[in-house]
């Protein structure tokens, strides 16, 4: 375990220091002046070449401490079509037993419509995707213990992002919202009911304020930050109240990477029965910095929307 922690510290700490000499903010879904950063508990509204490694999620539950050390790799096939794969290593510590192992693998195919700029600063973008949780790809022990799903699901998903650069009040223009809505079709609804999942984020982009509205005389690291709150909920066909989390936090964007940290707070009493307030931190690398290789650019330089 100590080796795992050492590796995570290295993965978190090393690249930021390497890139610290880069300046100013940027990230991934770009729509005119607007850059939609990568969010932590929900997906962003576009496709790009990027990697989240690691995403560390620390979650206390009534009987155990559950931690996950996640990975995600997103690869563009064309300029608008992307493929993603994500999963993670889970640990669960309780007085009665300790469990650890790999989570199931989830794959995503997503297509991004070209951003709308029908009037100045419209900053509207959306994507559609298909997310597949592949059962049986995780740890048998975790599956047997009920920690991970033993039933797969397929989720058509709609993603959107809207920046408010078209508002008349200058200091409101850095605001943006992103969201996603998905229907999770279970492979075996009798064993694991299907569900609706929905999420939204509200962001205030200091980079947008600095670059497009009013440059502020503040320390430069502050100009790279985006305070935000993410709300992610699930409503099961089995009935009962929805469950989910509210996650306030900060994103820090540099030229080629992003660091994010959020508290993960149960959104309601139904959620609190299963988990307490946790914490999530993510290091995110923008792979299009490898623009000269297959690794950082679309495999096919074509946009399926013809734009």
């Amino acid at each position: 375990m100590s080796r795992l922690i050492a590796a995570l510290v290295a993965a978190l700490a090393f690249p930021p220091f390497i890139f610290m000499m880069s300046s100013a903010a940027q990230a991934h879904v770009v729509c005119g002046n607007r850059v939609f950063p990568t969010t932590l508990t929900m997906d962003d509204p576009g496709v790009s070449d990027e990697m989240s490694l690691p995403t560390i999620n620390l979650t206390p539950t009534p009987t155990a401490q559950s931690n996950s050390y996640g990975y995600e790799w997103d690869k563009t096939i064309t300029e608008d079509l992307g493929f993603g794969i994500n999963g993670g290593y889970l640990t669960q510590r309780s007085p009665s037993q300790n469990l650890n192992g790999w989570d199931n693998i989830t794959v995503t195919l997503k297509d991004q419509h070209p951003c709308f700029n029908r009037h100045p600063h419209e900053e509207l973008v959306f994507s559609v995707g298909l997310v597949r949780l592949i059962p049986g790809t995780g740890s048998t022990r975790l599956r047997t213990a009920g920690v991970i799903d033993d039933v797969g699901s397929t989720s058509p998903t709609f993603y959107f992002g809207k920046g408010f650069g078209d508002l008349s009040a200058p200091y409101l223009r850095p605001f943006a919202i992103t969201g996603e809505l998905s229907r999770d079709f279970s492979d075996t609804p009798t064993a694991n009911p299907s569900a609706w999942s929905y999420a939204v984020s509200l962001q205030y982009s200091m980079p947008y304020l600095q670059q497009s509205v009013q440059a502020q005389h503040i320390p430069q690291f502050l100009t790279r930050m985006t305070p935000l709150v993410e709300i992610a909920m699930t409503s099961s066909d089995a009935g009962g109240p929805p469950t989910g989390t509210i996650s306030p936090g900060i994103l820090y964007d540099a030229n080629t990477w992003q660091l994010g940290a959020e508290a993960v707070i149960p959104a309601n009493s139904a959620t609190r029965q299963g988990q307490g307030t946790g914490f999530i931190i993510q290091y995110h690398q923008f792979l299009d910095t490898f623009y000269k290789s297959w690794f950082g650019r679309p495999i096919i330089k074509k946009n399926l929307w013809g734009s």
């Binding site: 080796r3 100013a24 903010a25 490694l53 990975y71 670059q211 509205v213 440059a215």
Partner: protein, 123 residues
Amino acid sequence: MTMRVLTSIFVLAALCIAPAAVGAHAFLDHADPAVGSSVPTSPSVLHLWFTQELEPAFSWATVSDRSGATVNDGAATIDPGNKSELDIKLKQLPPGTYTVKWHALSVDTHTTEGDFTFHVGKG
């Protein structure tokens, strides 16, 4: 064994990614006159500094007044000593609000664009 594999993945990812990163999109870092600022008199040149070096043939900027008339004096040029700096000579600007529109192609072949305003005269 699993721990060893996991450790290797994380460390290799961190070490491999870092030294190979060579470029990124070009975004506006800062400008003079500054974004959203007021300056008392007409500046002779507008300076734009970007986060990456630009491709000169495909990077440009224009300055226009409220009526949409262009007020830059010639095309924008890349500073020979700093390829991430775009300079635009300006005509004599009467008091008013001016809009800067820029379009940048960085060395990673990604295009970016943006705009902002500044004001000449008492603010």
